[in-house]
Amino acid sequence: MGTIYTLWIRQLKRYYRSRSRMIGTLGNPLLFLVAFSYGFGPIFQRAGEGTDYITFLAPGIIGISILMTAMASGTDIIWDRQFGFLKETFVAPVSRLQVMFGRTLGGATVAVLQGIVVLFIAMFLGFRFETLLGFFLSLAIMLVSAIAFTAFAIAIASLIEDVQGYQFIMNFLVMPMVFLSGSVFPLNDLPKSVKIIAHFDPLSYSVDGLRSSLAGIAYFDTTLNLIVLGLLTVVFLIFGSWAFSRIRL
């Protein structure tokens, strides 16, 4: 327990110290938020979706920023492996599993913090969440999604040795995940084949859960969102722990 806490704190300190990382991972989501809300807002309105575009978009962008911050936790692993700190934790009398959990929770906490920052910026742009209960529910959804995505990122980063390779794979995965998740445009109006694919996109459930809790707009069933996210968390934690335990220095 102590070890997990120690490494959790370390991730938070690093996040707090590194402004460039903070801004780097917020940059894309904020760009999406501003560009899409001004660019597509009027079109969205005309299409008669029944809500403000910002109300629809903000939860989507929160989901995206959590995903992207989680992916940066993978980059962190690769750096720590190349530049040494991982060795310090691997010769210490602590289990790999604890190291992996500490890092995952640390990375996930950072991702949730980023999600909250995006939420506040969205509110500045006119977004309002419906109920306080919904807000708290959304925090829980952020946390579960963040753990799942961070564990996934750590798994991939554990299997790949260089930063370029990792970033290439992640870009290859993240962009389709973003656009198929219903984060920036509704899934309702998409062709059936795309809708089917969206069901296999983990981000879909995260975004939908956030949207239903914050804005009362749902595509899937709320229980389904929670079950899928919960299952993904378990699966990715197991996958991540397995991959992390295989790292050789």
Binding site: G2, T6, K13, G24, T75, A92, P93, V174
Partner: protein, 267 residues
């Protein structure tokens, strides 16, 4: 009492035999110098002894335990100074040591006292609240040695610990380590390219080349083995030849990685 023992230890890396049936045994309280040219297999040996790497064959025991199956038991008794940097650059000197103490489950009081003690001894106390990324190479090296000693390990492994340190600092550190060795009986296993250093410090030496141990014993015994050698350096060159090793190549790849770190951006 034998505290580290290897018998016919082998390690292969896809086709390359990095360690070729090496054997040695080290008594508790010895200062053991492990010497050899670049690429000889020193780091690989240390990685196996410190539980980071599995051997491909042979027998190995550290502090009474088998590193492949009882890693956790062994780790409790180890302090390790790696050849490559392994500090957290974004944390301060104090935080790096404090984190180490937490990983080794040192009680709070003791941890705080030891961190302060080590920072003062290694003359880093004034800079304790600066992020390590702003430290010079020598300061980082000192901090790594301080960290390796923080939790009073029974065995200290140091892979080229004094590289990049000036003679004063080297002298200061070795004097301290010798004292620790005498007073607390800490066992020290180290590698170095400074042969005068090894000659002065080590109670026993093994020389490894191309994954094989080519000589082993006290400095006097090794010199005698080569007959004409006056110094350890001469003996070393007689035993391992004058050909250059992969140093240059390593230098290039390391600089390249540093450059990547600076220009790399998170997703």
């Amino acid at each position: 009492m034998i505290i580290i023992e290897a018998k016919q230890l082998v390690r292969n890396f896809n086709g390359l035999r990095a360690l070729d049936r090496i054997s040695f045994s080290i008594e508790k309280g010895e200062i053991f110098g492990f010497l050899g040219p670049n690429g000889a297999g020193k780091t690989t040996t240390i990685k196996i002894l410190t539980t980071l790497l599995k051997p491909s064959g042979g027998y190995v025991h550290v502090n009474g335990f088998d590193p492949t199956t009882q890693a956790m038991e062994i780790r409790k008794s180890l302090g390790v100074v790696f050849q490559e940097p392994s500090l957290d650059d974004d944390l301060t000197a104090y935080e790096n040591l404090d984190l180490h103490g937490l990983l080794y489950k040192m009680p709070t009081e003791l941890r705080r006292r030891r961190v302060a003690e080590m920072l003062m001894f290694f003359e880093l106390w004034q800079r304790r609240n600066d992020a390590v990324k702003y430290f010079s190479g020598g300061m980082k090296r000192r901090l790594e040695i301080a960290r390796g000693l923080l939790h009073h390990p029974a065995i200290l492994f140091m892979d080229e610990p004094t590289i990049g340190l000036d003679p004063q600092t080297r002298n200061h550190i070795w004097t301290y380590l010798k004292q620790l060795n005498k007073e607390e009986g800490i066992t020290i296993f180290f590698t170095t390219h400074y042969l005068e250093e090894a000659e002065k410090i080590a109670s026993r030496i093994a020389i490894i080349d191309h994954g094989r141990i080519v000589a082993q014993g006290t400095v006097a015994e090794i010199k005698k083995q080569t007959k004409r050698a006056e110094t350890l350096e001469e003996a070393f060159l007689i035993l391992t030849g004058h050909g250059m090793r992969e140093e240059a190549l390593l230098g290039v790849s390391r600089n390249h990685m540093n450059w990547e770190k600076q220009s790399g951006q998170g997703l």
